[in-house]
Symmetry: C2
């Protein structure tokens, strides 16, 4: 799925960019991060996630879980009990990923205001609300 980039068929600097995109694609979905964060704190069940990750639909929860599991970011453990019980746990690799994302969080918090200001200035100058 849209995974055509090899990061090899191009040159120098753009190859680095491609590597970044590779990483971003793992968590690019709307819900990946939320699920990852919830699962990083220990085994969590399907219905728990459904409540904790606010706003997610059953469908997207399932799909995102599958993708994360497929990439080796989540471990899925099924208890073959009468009422089914499934636990999801973040793998070490996923925890490392989240640690790397903290750098981004930091950046976002440092520049949140600057970005808002830039947007406001741009919109004012280019008459989004008026002209």
């Amino acid at each position: 799925m849209s995974q055509g980039n090899d990061c090899v068929t191009i040159g120098a600097a753009q190859a680095r960019a491609c590597t970044v995109r590779e990483a971003l694609d793992r968590v690019g979905g709307k819900w990946s991060i939320g699920i990852l964060v919830a699962a990083a704190r220990g085994p969590v069940r399907f219905t728990e996630l459904e409540r904790e990750v606010e706003g997610i639909s059953r469908r997207m929860l399932t799909l995102t879980l599958r993708n994360l599991e497929r990439d080796g970011l989540l471990h899925r453990k099924v208890y073959p009990t009468v009422p089914p019980k499934v636990e999801y746990t973040a793998t070490p690799m996923a925890r490392e990923l989240y640690d790397s994302l903290v750098a981004l969080t930091d950046w976002a918090e440092r520049h949140r205001l600057a970005i808002s200001a830039a947007r406001a200035a741009y919109d004012r100058e280019h008459g989004v609300t008026d002209d």
Copy 2:
């Protein structure tokens, strides 16, 4: 657009996840990173970008440039010459962003093989190509 999340209306851990998403949304587009990387090395012109960022269309180049400029990540300088000349430069904020992304690059490179393996294993076990 699609910027409805406030990172405030929810609780604890998910708020952190939301902050991460905020940052990711700045570079979530397919071409943002490629353009940022190219522009970080100094002023670059429209047509240069069109060649350097391989595979990008005229339309997407324009759109992504506008968004990056709006967020204050790119500076756009127009030379009112007879053949139009426009230069794009990454702002300090954008360079900082790219530095933060290095952590992600690092993660991606460390786990690239593990992820591929996980995918292969998953697909084998769940019969994507065969059953």
